[in-house]
């Protein structure tokens, strides 16, 4: 005779698991199972220093020419150009939302989330 197909609870009852208080865990979540309206404050990674190559080229030129500015005029001009460009980039970057690494900083994320909060109840 084939094994009779009893439902699962019958087998469990018969085995006596429930008498030994081996019950499935009753979930008691301490917080609501919903996304919060803010993100943890993450320390934004420092951006790298700009214009280091131009600076080192200029310093090498200085070392050769005993720190005179006249022979190194070209390198100095390139350094100034790089600095101006980096400054402009920094100014433009503050208006845009994305940082150079592609992640929004946590303050901006919190502002956005505050504008569109999680709906906890329907009215």
């Amino acid at each position: 005779m084939a094994a009779p197909a009893y439902p699962a609870w019958v087998t469990r009852w018969v085995s006596g698991q429930w008498r030994n208080k081996k019950r499935p865990p009753a979930l008691r979540p301490p917080r609501a199972l919903a996304l919060a309206d803010k993100v943890a404050n993450r320390r934004e990674q420092a951006t790298e220093a700009t214009c280091i190559t131009e600076m080192s080229v200029m310093m090498a030129c200085w070392k050769q020419n005993d720190f005179n500015d006249a022979p190194c005029a070209e390198e100095i001009r390139m350094f100034y150009d790089c600095v101006a460009k980096a400054e402009k980039e920094r100014k433009n970057q503050n208006e845009d939302t994305m940082s150079s690494r592609g992640n929004l900083p946590s303050s901006k994320v919190n502002k956005l989330l505050k504008r569109f909060p999680q709906i906890t109840r329907y009215v």
Binding site: T47, A49, T50, I52, M55, S56, M59, R90
Partner: protein
Amino acid sequence: RALGYSPASLVPCRIMPVRWNRYNPSYLEPEVKKESYQKPLEELTEEEREHMELKAVRPIKAAPPSLSSSVFSDPMISKFTNMMMKSGNKVLARSLMSQTLEAIKRKQLEKYHKAPENEKETIECNPYVIFHQALKNCQPIIGLSNITKGGKTYQVPVPLTDNRKRFLAMKWLITECRENKHRRTLMPDKLSQELLLAFKNEGPVIKKKHVLHKMAEANRAYAHFRWW
């Protein structure tokens, strides 16, 4: 008008702020140069036309007394005079500045008349040109700033803004002239001497600039501590 404390009930008008008067952002800057008003309408570019239309509608800030439309006024010279000024004595500072420029002119004319014919063109007699070139030669190209990392402060080479460079050049010149002179020499003589030396890329101020550059060069390994 008597200055004193008067109760608010007796004073009908408001007290106007004297310092740090903050204008509404809609106020525009005053245009002082005469050349910009003598241009005919057709020569103006699009932006300038828009700016003129805006000026007809918006209010304009009051021009400060240091701003002048004369051909003899130079913003660098005014800034230098202000830095030389002590306890608000602008009259003294301005007279010192004019005496300095006169001394430069005298010294250069002396050299000019003594020089042989072929060298006469190389001698620069315009004191304003000498002043500007000397200041430009004194400006440092790279500065040092204190950055604390891991509990220790490092001197990190850092690019400077134009304003900061000008300020440092002027400050070095003035401190040099105030401190390292004989008791009896007057400021115009010492300043003219320093300006002429700086014009030729010699002198203690240029040396100070070179010292700063050397320190920046020595600390170039710490350049990565910058985050801007």
